[in-house]
Amino acid sequence: MTTTTAPRRATTDSAPRRKANTIRRSHHVFAYALIAPALALFAVAFVIPIVYSIGLSMFSREAGSGGAYAPKEDAFVGLGNYVSVLADPTFWASLQRLAIFAVIMVPLMMLTSIVLALLLDLPRVGARAFSRTAIFLPYGVPSVIAALMWGFLYVPEISPVYQLAGSIGLELPPLLRGDQIYTAIINVVLWGGIGFNAIIIYTALQSLPAERIDAARLDGCNEWAIARHVKLPHVLPATVLTALFSIIGALQIYSEPQMLSSLTTAIHSTFFPLMRVYRDAFAHDDLNSAAAASILLALATVLLSLLVLGLRTFTSRKANS
């Protein structure tokens, strides 16, 4: 703002730098103005609630005095809620189930998305536009509705899937019982998520120059070899990114199992960590414990994501060297 009329001379070494500096500073105001709405909203919707949450997590509602039904009273307990969450075996059990879920779901999600993207990208494949749309469509279906639809399709007596399998002599296990519940949950998540990931990888494939493929083809590569040696390396960054999304999504898994839980005894209220947060906050009216657990989970997510991003930097560096 100070020297917008600075002389435009570029005779010495220092002059251009000074000029650049002044221009940059004069544009700071505009840059800040552009980013101000985002920052204000970020403060309102993210920062203040998190600070508030941290505060909540350090209090506890203790039994009040003065009668059997006296209101509870707030008491400062410091890190007490964190200690009791970490000391609770059901918390660790829910993390264990989350790990099982993520370890199965994420690779399946990635593998299916890559395969579908490659198929969509093959030459001479039929019904391409229709398939692309159909695969993407479930991404737009709310999880309340997805769980309702699959909830019906999981019932052997009325599901066309079971009837079809039965008619060819195949007996499918009941998906709402026992460990099959992982299949039931993973299926709903995959159904809703593959489309998004497959389309991202597919669009990355589209940006691959045709000459590179033609050259490989002229070298005698078949489609499989092209996919493996030309296409896959090209979409590696996109794949890593979608993997990151899938991992974050897996760690935040909540609404699909929550919606399915009223259909089966195999999903209880602390099945996954965020379901426990929901139970504490909504069924137990214990916001303090819910806040502590969710802050622990957020920390874990951040750490894990940093790990994945670190891994990506590592692999891309390796690829460049």
Binding site: L34, F42, P49, R132, L137, V141, A210, V240
Partner: protein, 284 residues
């Protein structure tokens, strides 16, 4: 978008790939087709007739659906559109401005802002929803449209996409040229930057539209006034009515069919505008 394949017309179709692809299509469409068939069935037929057969209750279901709670479904549908359109528009504008600034300007605190926003992507929404509710309640914002619109207006992911796209598509030289011509920063932004950003912004809008359309927890927590609920909340309430009330499967399924139609139309109409390569191109 499309690449020219050599001699594609002369060669036969890739049959195996097509079959596998169509198999996947069957899987992805199965529940949607199921819900469309089921929406034609009465409560009795729903549990006693074959899945892919038409029932006799379509008209009744739709009438019941739109008469449920005094015609509330139309209001909920309207709310869903309002939240999705206004929310996506606001977040696209906010993302465009912030992404543009972060991509093309250098200013103190930029790095810290980037890191903070990225960390925001990692937070589970349920973690934020409860404190958001309690704060918004104190600010007198719960039970207003703002209670949903403010939180969905800021999407760290949208800003990130706008940032990536601005970096890739707005050449710094253009800005410099604008400055030399004496054009103001704002003019440069609005007349040069924004048009270049437009395809990317459409993508952000579409992603955010679907995100808000599917959002359940935020409006469920924020709005106790049924007139402000979107259809996701309404569907949940139809399916969780407590022990002494019947569960409204036939209405809920009709509602699902109706709720899925706009999304289908949306995806069909607008998929040519998707620029998802900006996501995949974002990591270089």
């Amino acid at each position: 978008m499309s690449r020219a394949f050599p001699a594609r017309a002369r060669q036969p179709r890739n049959v195996i790939a097509t079959i596998v692809l169509l198999g996947a299509v069957v899987y992805f469409l199965l529940p949607i087709v199921w819900v469309l068939f089921s929406s034609t069935k009465t409560t009795g037929e729903l549990f006693t007739t074959p899945a892919f057969s038409f029932g006799s209750g379509f008209f009744d279901n739709i009438v019941d659906l739109f008469q449920y709670q005094g015609g509330a479904f139309a209001v909920w549908l309207g709310n869903s559109f309002l939240y999705s359109i206004v929310g996506a528009t606001l977040s696209t504008i906010v993302s465009a401005a912030a992404g543009y600034a972060l991509a093309l300007y250098d200013f103190p605190g930029k790095k810290a802002i980037m890191i903070g926003l990225l960390a925001g992507v990692l937070l589970p929404t349920i973690t934020l929803a409860i404190p958001q509710y309690m704060l918004f309640a104190q600010w007198g914002l719960t039970n207003t449209y703002w209670a949903v619109l403010i939180p969905v207006s800021i999407t760290p992911f949208g800003i990130y996409l706008a940032f990536v796209y601005a970096k890739a598509s707005v050449p710094v030289e253009l800005l410099e040229a604008g400055r030399v011509d004496g054009s103001s920063e704002f003019r440069t932004f609005s007349s040069i930057g924004l048009p270049l950003l437009l395809p990317g912004l459409v993508t952000i809008f579409l992603l955010q539209f679907i995100g808000v359309w599917n959002n359940f927890l935020l409006p469920y927590i924020m709005q106790s006034d049924a007139d402000l609920a979107p259809i996701t909340v309404a569907m949940y309430l139809m399916l969780n009515r407590g022990g002494s009330e019947p569960i409204l499967y036939s209405i809920a399924i009709a509602g699902s069919a109706v709720a899925v139609i706009p999304v289908v139309a949306f995806v069909l109409l607008l998929q040519r505008f998707w620029r998802l390569d900006l996501i995949s191109g974002s990591i270089k």
